[in-house]
């Protein structure tokens, strides 16, 4: 009983230590987590897979380095999928810290899959005021982005010659850790009626299932698990699969702590009742 009483008053630093070890162990002893694919992720995969040779995919990478661990694996998986299938991708970021990350990912993956900037993909860059930028892009991409991120006029890029606004892209995938998903739904999908899917952090997932059921978005990639599912679908295990193992161990530890906490709570509560103590 003493152990359980102690558990009720456990110093939080022991919990921190347990979580630290839970995250470190899979890094030392790597293992693969069996991953079942959810329908909302499969729909995005099917959409990208179904794009024709002349179809354009629009990817918005609207996140900061703080959520990079969850959203970078998604971005990489989607871009790898599009590049593998030789599909054209227009990329934008509506996050002020986004350009550096997008630049790093696109340059690396383009090199890996022999994609040429301006012919196979375009990085438009960053503009402030997400809602306004979305609406202006609905009029013409050239209004908010007369030049791409590298200062090249859009009209001089071979890939952008036949493309004006969202009417010319097959669909939009927004990867975000903030409220830009709401803006893409409200000002993008509602106004310009393009198919929209989102990739979001795990904690945001519950907020966006309503839009999935209403048909305003056609798919969701929720957190690291979603990214790992997408990697499994394209058969390119990467950061998502790796991080899924960390997450599994960390979640297992949290679940064990919660069970222990409740056992300790009920055991000590019974004891207090016998002694006439407060609950």
């Amino acid at each position: 009983m003493k152990f359980l009483e102690k558990m009720m008053q456990i110093d939080r630093r022991w919990i921190y230590l347990a979580i630290f070890l839970a995250v470190i162990i899979p890094a030392i002893i790597p293992f693969t987590v069996p991953m079942s694919v959810s329908p909302e992720v499969k729909k995005i995969y099917d959409f990208v897979e179904g794009l024709g040779p002349n179809d354009y995919l629009f990817v918005a990478m609207d996140y900061d380095p703080s959520s990079l661990a969850e959203l970078n694996p998604m971005a990489e998986a989607i871009l790898k999928h599009a590049f593998l299938n030789d599909r054209k991708v227009v990329i934008v970021t509506l996050s002020q810290f986004g350009p550096g990350m997008v630049e790093e990912i696109t340059t690396r993956l383009a090199g890996e899959y022999n994609r040429i900037r301006g012919e196979d993909y375009v990085f438009l860059g960053y503009r402030p005021y997400p809602a306004i930028t979305i609406m202006l892009m609905g009029t013409d991409f050239r209004v908010p982005f007369p030049q791409d991120y590298y200062g090249v006029p859009l009209d001089s890029l071979p890939m952008m010659r036949g493309i004006k606004n969202f009417n010319n892209v097959k669909g939009v995938i927004d990867l975000t850790a903030g409220n830009t998903a709401d803006m893409w739904i409200t000002y993008g999908n509602a106004r310009y009626n393009f198919p929209l899917a989102i990739g979001i952090t795990g904690v945001m997932a519950a907020d966006y299932y309503q839009y999935l059921q209403s048909g305003q978005i056609f798919g969701i990639i929720p957190g690291v698990k979603g990214a790992a599912e997408y990697e499994r679908l394209i058969d390119k295990p990467g950061q998502g699969m790796q991080q899924a193992s960390y997450q599994v161990v960390a979640h297992s530890v949290i679940i064990l702590f919660i069970i222990l906490s409740n056992v300790a709570y009920f055991a000590t509560r019974g004891q207090k009742s016998k002694l006439g103590g407060a609950r």
Binding site: P65, S67, M101, E103, A206, Q213, I255
Partner: protein, 204 residues
């Protein structure tokens, strides 16, 4: 006139923006683009004000011994990032990208990753079956968390349960909140356009 003119601008612009949304025509698009440009111009004009305020406040703090170090770091970081990212060519190589990838990304990622420790500690203390409602919360959290853990033959049942939780009680609550927020926002917008709500103009 000091109050009437801004109110008139808000009313006229608000009505134009409201009406143009429902009129799909080239003229409507032009009006929309023109007014959106103005929003950007006004926003951009506020940027120097913010920079001036930041630099001024931190320059003053340089005189305070306890705060000198942090203000100096901020001012140096600010100057280095502005200068190094000034030209488009400089952004994709050199010191700007190196600082972004080797300083800013690790700092932000580290701060965010600390959440895992706080969440674990909070979960340990908060998820206790103290009452019926707390027990429902605990069970729901358990089911959702088990989704991430490979549970063999139970995975399908758990996934089914997660889907039901997300698409029925969760969605009903979220929709109610979203509708409430939207109606509130619409009511506030109407009040601003009609000049009933004037607190945004400050006091004078």
């Amino acid at each position: 006139m000091k109050r009437e003119i801004p109110l008139m601008i808000v009313t006229v612009t608000g009505i134009i923006m409201f009406v143009q949304y429902f009129i799909p025509s080239n003229f409507s698009e032009d009006v929309f683009t023109f007014l959106q440009d103005w929003v950007m111009i006004i926003g951009i004009l506020s940027l120097p004000l913010g920079i001036w305020s930041l630099v001024k406040a931190n320059t003053q703090k340089l005189k305070v011994p306890d705060e000198r170090f942090y203000s100096a770091v901020l001012l140096i970081g600010f100057l280095v990032m502005v200068v190094s990212g000034w030209m488009p060519d400089w952004r994709s190589k050199g010191i700007h990208l190196a600082l972004f990838q080797n300083v800013l990304i690790p700092i932000q990622s580290t701060i965010f990753s600390l959440l895992a420790f706080f969440v674990a500690s909070a979960a340990y203390r908060a998820f206790r079956a103290r009452s019926v409602l707390a027990t429902i919360l605990l069970l729901t959290a358990f089911i959702i968390m088990f989704r991430l853990i490979p549970t063999g033959p139970f995975a399908d049942i758990n996934n089914w349960l997660v889907e039901k939780i997300l698409t029925i009680p969760n969605m009903a609550a979220k929709r109610a909140i979203a509708m409430g927020l939207a109606l509130g926002a619409a009511a506030t917008a109407i009040k601003i356009i009609l000049g009933i709500e004037r607190t945004y103009m400050g006091r004078d």
